[in-house]
Amino acid sequence: MQYGLLVMGAPYSNPAPHSALRFAHALLSCGHQITGVFFYHDGVHNASSLMAPPQDELNLREAWAELNQQHGVQLDVCIAAALRRGVMSESEAQRHGKQACNIAAPFELTGLGQLLELQQRVDRLITFA
């Protein structure tokens, strides 16, 4: 089946991203496809390239990126939720006159419409929050 995941919890403050990631790997090992992961609400922090957890803890950004590289899972981040929370791409940084950015490929800043489209396209949308 085609699955989509909606992740709305921040790493370290909420177990939702960890649960989502474990679930994603279980999906793949059961032979399912993951069309995309949509990061919304505090979940946008999963995409932060500045995240630097202690070495004995999982870097969730890296773990999501790996899911993209090895299994082609699309990683979409809600732009409105991200900007408000300080998660910004290079082009958005330019537009807002900021000197730095903290989100880059394979994560993509996109509109909420992408979430609704994902929900239409997949057989199952599972929320982790």
Binding site: L6, Y40, H41, A80, A81, R84, G111, L112, G113, L115, L116, Q119, Q120, L125, T127
Partner: protein, 121 residues
Amino acid sequence: MASPDALLVVIRHAPHGSNWLREGLDAALVAAAFGQPVHLLFMGQGIMALMKEQGSGAPGQKATLPTIDMLEMYDIDTLWVAEGALQSMNLSADSLIEGVTLIADQEVPELLSQHAKILNF
């Protein structure tokens, strides 16, 4: 009222306490803008979003009522409220804005099953 292709957005969080309410309403508005029929169900503290006398928050904290007022412009005119939730919060329907549809608690499972798509905020 419910149609199988409609999106049900469930709102369970009050204004100001978090961004769940705001971001839930945003999802409803975007879905409606994309032409999807959208219905809203308010449960628990989410009912506070419908308080007719609510103001804006602390300086810089947006009020919710203007967004609620926008729903109609986007053809979102179904705002369900479970009666039990109202009662358990000691609220009367008079405290809420107009245009709200009260439903019995027992109808909630049926509502969920009638919608193919649900987003829970």
